[in-house]
Amino acid sequence: MSAHRIAGAGRLSSAGRVNFRFDGKAYQGQAGDSLASALLANGVILMGRSFKYHRPRGLLGAGAEEPNALISVDRGGGRYTPNLRATAIEIYEGLNARSQNRWPSLQTDLGSINDRLGMFFPAGFYNKTFMWPRSAWEKLYEPAIRGMAGLGDAPTDADPDVYGATYAHCDVLIVGAGPAGIDAALAASASKKKVFLLDEQDEMGGGALGDPALWPWLAESLKDLGKLPNVTLLSRTTAFGYYHDNFIGAVERLTEHLANPDHHPREKLWRIRAGEVVLAQGAIERPLVFEGNDVPGVMLASAAGTYLARYGVAVGGNVALMTVHDSGWRDLFTLARAGVSVAAIIDLRDTVDEGLLAEAQELGLRVELGSAVIGVAGRQAVKGIEMARADGSARQRIACDALLMAGGWTPSVHLWSHSLGKLEWSEDWGAYLPGQPNENVRCVGACGGTWSFGSGLSIGQLPTPKNPSRIKAFVDFQNDVTAKDIALAVREGMKSVEHIKRYTTNGMATDQGKTSNLNALQLASRALDRPVQQIGLTTFRPPYTPQTFGALAGHAKDALFQPVRKSPIDPWAEANGAVFELVAQWRRARYFPKAGEDMHAAVARECLAVREGAGIFDASTLGKIEVVGPDAAEFLNRMYTNPWKQLEPGRCRYGLLLREDGFITDDGVSARLAPDRFHLTTTTGGAARVLNMMEDYLQTEWPDLNVWLTSTTEQWAVIALQGPKARDVIAPLVSGIDLSGEMFPHMAVREGTICGVPTRLFRVSFTGELGFEINVPAAYGRHVWEQVWQAGQAHGITPYGTETMHVLRAEKGFIIVGQDTDGTVTPSDAGLEWAVGKKKPDFVGKRSLARPDIIASGRKQLIGLLTDDPAEVLVEGAQIVADPNQPVPMTMIGHVTSSYASATLGRSIAMALVQGGFDRMGETLHVPMPGKTITAKVVKPMFYDAEGSRLNA
């Protein structure tokens, strides 16, 4: 008889039957079972295969520390999750679980050949070989290693589930609802404080769940807490990380335990700011290190106690105990009292507490002091053990079907470590305990080092008469790190625990060393013959247990990932078949194809329509800033390269903005509406950056100026109407403004109404044609656009998008900041010397323009390019050379910044940044492309209506 359920024991009711499958086989468990307890109850003890050697493994623990029993759960429809701990899976009707990292089956795993060859795979073996032949690493060795590595299979489908998130604030956050945590909650709640009590398990109680004597108290306490309005109880909630200023990340599992998760959020991210944090995370029992300590059926004594007391499951029919600590005895007594037969109690200590001995005698248990287990019989299940005196004498075999280990206790100081709290070594516990805190936090109960488990030894490896370099005594069960691996690491010069950890991978498994770190420290300390403190401490990092990406992303999924900003006119564009492009946070109509048109055809049509009639364009996304105050002109004069003080109200000016390092960062046309009021425009992507930059100078450099900045980007919808017919189209719609060329010249602004809506009407042009930019309050943008659209029908009005806008402005040689400039371009590089106020003593960036390499000759300058073959459209980003016949690496003298097929000119045009470009007019340059080299002539970047007669029309 092996593991089995004991009638009447535990907290579960035999009424709630639950059917589930493991590796395809059907089983029955009880409501409230973990997958681990349910499988045990069915006599299943083989649950996994180890990472490296593929050794058969059963349960080591009963909680978050479990390193062995890693399970994949597939709920279908993309709801597949690998690497779940069997101890953390709540069974539900229809649960479909399967084991991992084995082929063809859990019982027969060909990968276990690694175990036989284990001697050739010591720690760091991969650094020592797989180097010849050189090419074989990627082609042969690495794929083989990668295939063997990994735990569960990766998901193959997108996750259909959604996740929730919230911020929360409380006075006291208590992590862990064991006795200590519950006491802390009761105490804190009395003071009307806002209290959060979190526990990772489905049922609150922690250690108390394994102690029937405490159940009445537990029920009473939870009832009391549940009634208090100032207390929030969150079970199935794992506090995974402790961040600055008492900010704790926690994940609540909402549907994972339900037979039908439906479409509710699967998990919820809690971002909690707490006044005080109380850590009551308990302690984790340590395994003992000896040959065979990983055979299925060898487990922590405390885990066996939990399986019995909480789940009513005996881990074996005939159980032995290997202990160096009193607590192991107590757990075994519990099993014995429940009728489990006990093979022997083996304690390495020569003397133990009289009370324990008396109790053992009363129960009639065999006791072997001063002895140690030196081997375990059985491969997929414990069949018996071999033991000997500490000096190696008196070797003997004992039959049993389970072996409990009790190696002492390690406080769960994970979150404490995240908070950068100090840790102090305690010789008594053989563990690090919380010391000086770094935040407003305290540890209570076992994780604070106060518990009543009795005393014991802390020891690295049990004594054995066998040759330690020939046996596999496991320290890190999941990563298959053995005592001899740690000895090897030390032998090879690893003297810090950080090096030992990285070299052996001890503590780097999915349990982050919850059961292995301290044993590894002890072993290293003995191997180096130095006290543990001098070897250091591997710092715990978030998360405390692995957490779902989806939960960490919270509600930032699909449409909620990041906002897509749309203009008020966007719906019209969508309804009229626009193809969109994303620019910064915005989406903009790129072109409006008619049936059968590709981008090239659509853009050519749109361009000609603007040149010959009228085009309508949504310019709403351009950044806008209203600059108001008596010192407005003075402020702009200091910010922009060109002079602003003399600009008359009603007039516009092109503004060029530099960073203090002298490079162009933004530009735009701005208008003076009144002596103390300007309407600035910026690039679409630059709006926020420019406003922040201006605020910075205003607030911190020139706080004396009486001027204020207000973002009006979204106040105004902007409709650009461009083309020779533009005036005719809007004339009937506009009132209060004389549209005549004399009264309303190019680069002027007027206020009036259009379609009855107040407007700031700009006469500006980014196309080289007669043009207007109609600014109306955003809510009326769509309405006015449609009115203009209607009015334009008689004039062949055509909607155009950003691509056409780019072509039209390129024909005029207007630059686009960010395309024709790249953060390394000065005004003179861009041929914008005219926009720099020579007489101004200072403006942002001016001084940098005088630096040696900025005034040096041979800088890249913006010029035009005409390909010898007018049909050849250069690729934007293509590189330019003077000598096409030079070998690679070639000397590149520049690159193409803008390039289009110009329907207006019936040929291709391009702009480029070229070294010494201004002095190369008429030169032929070369653009080497794969398979061919394109030749082009350098010209001024002005391809159309150089004298500007059209836009002044």
Binding site: R491, S496, A553, S848
Partner: protein, 417 residues
């Protein structure tokens, strides 16, 4: 030095691995050295190795305040690539990539450099223009970097979502096939072992507390927590702590140190064949040989030496990864940590001489230092040996900030119009 090979591994195995020697002795400081390197990360250990191997200076000490390889070397996401835009950058990083190739054999230590390809995603028209510029410049510089359509990108990296309706749709990608990853710890250990074998002293737990300069202003050695150590040549390769060390020599540097976070998932069977980077959504991902998804996150906004990042940085990074790779939404974060990156105004390194005679510096690598490890080590060694920069690192001088000759790759990626 015991030569590593399948044969030696086999032989030692039969002996129960009892007779492996130390990879590197834990050296005690001597009174003086011909050259001292401050900082035992990959760069510093590499410099020591090349000083001894290529430039015949073997009386060298590498001084480390903690344990070797314990800084950014052991904390980064191990991406190796050289498809940079400007000639200066392309030459610098390609010098490193050439050394990566064959480094395992050179060091007789498998650093697990694997050319699985680095793919950078273009999410908007502006990205496409910028990547095209990179690709054409790389081609003429002899650096491999090719354009992939969304379909080709997905074929190269099956978990990639190329849904055109995505918030940041994939419009294409730039792929450098020679790019890839290496095993970070192994790089530090391999260099340490090989350098030690050539006579280099690796002195751990020895913090530099001062830099002593003579009447002529030249360096005479370093004050350390283990006493004064004399040397006429001092190379500082201290990453995030560089400005602190430079101040000891009376030098102010254009550096700021920021927290940079990274994280790994639980290990799964092979699912991710290459490295993918997306600058637009700030996500960098590959899969380690162990099976963990290795994910690079962004920097926090403020300067800090705490090696402790904020949760919201992780939230945003993981959200971005899940948008581009919806398969991974149910994967779980196993470990999350922070490093300190030292950043210059143009986000390019400073590598060469300093105004102080005998003092050399290698710093300012920001988030990109690991990929340059062999190159940075070699070039620092060259500069220290010859007391003049190699043509490749000559542009990476301190004076560029005065002259205005910045090497600003990020600026070249520019801003959206």
């Amino acid at each position: 030095m015991t030569r590593f090979s399948a044969i030696s591994l086999f032989a030692k195995a039969l002996g129960g691995h009892q007779s492996w020697p130390e990879l590197w002795p834990d050296a005690q400081p001597k009174p003086s050295y011909d050259a001292i390197i401050v900082g035992a990360g990959g760069h510093g250990l590499g410099a020591a190795y090349y000083l001894a191997k290529k430039y015949g200076i073997t009386n060298v000490a590498v001084i480390e305040k903690g344990w070797l390889g314990g800084g950014n070397t052991g904390r980064n996401t191990t991406i190796v690539r050289s498809n940079y835009l400007y000639d200066e950058s392309a030459h610098l990083y390609d010098h490193a990539v050439k050394l990566w190739d064959g480094l395992s054999q050179d060091l007789n230590f498998n650093v697990m450099y694997s050319k699985r390809g680095v793919m950078m995603l273009a999410h908007n028209v502006h990205d496409v223009q910028s990547f095209q510029r990179h690709i054409h410049a790389n081609r003429l510089n002899g650096v491999d970097n090719e354009w992939l359509t969304p379909q080709e990108a997905k074929e190269y990296c099956p978990p990639l979502s190329i849904d055109p309706g995505a918030r940041h749709p994939v419009l294409g990608a730039a792929l450098q096939r020679r790019g890839g990853t290496a095993r970070h710890d192994s790089v530090a250990w391999g260099y340490a072992r090989a350098a030690a074998a050539l006579g280099v002293d690796i002195i751990q737990n020895c913090a530099v507390t001062g830099i002593r300069r003579g009447a002529d202003g030249a360096v005479e050695g370093v004050e350390t927590t283990r006493g004064f150590i004399a040397s006429k040549k001092i190379g500082v390769s201290a990453a995030g702590n560089s400005s602190v060390i430079m101040q000891m020599a009376g030098l102010e540097f254009p550096l700021e140190s920021y927290p940079l976070q990274a994280l790994v998932s639980e290990p799964v069977k092979p699912v991710f064949p290459c490295v993918v980077m997306s600058n637009t959504v700030h996500a960098y991902i590959s899969q380690s040989d162990k099976g963990e998804l290795v994910i690079g996150a962004g920097t926090d906004q403020y300067v800090s030496y705490s090696q402790r990042g904020a949760l919201h940085i992780v939230e945003h990074t993981v959200a971005a990864i899940c948008e581009i790779f919806p398969l991974f939404r149910r994967m779980r974060m196993l470990r999350n940590w922070g490093g300190i990156v030292d950043v210059t105004p143009d986000r390019s390194p400073i590598l060469g001489k300093t105004p102080v005679p005998g003092l050399y510096v290698n710093c300012g690598w920001g988030t990109g230092g690991f990929k340059a490890t062999p190159g940075a080590g070699d070039l620092l060694a060259y500069t220290m040996a010859k007391d003049e920069p190699h043509p490749i690192n000559a542009p990476y001088n301190l004076d560029r900030f005065r002259r205005g000759r910045l090497i600003d790759e990020a600026a070249a990626a520019a801003v959206a119009h």
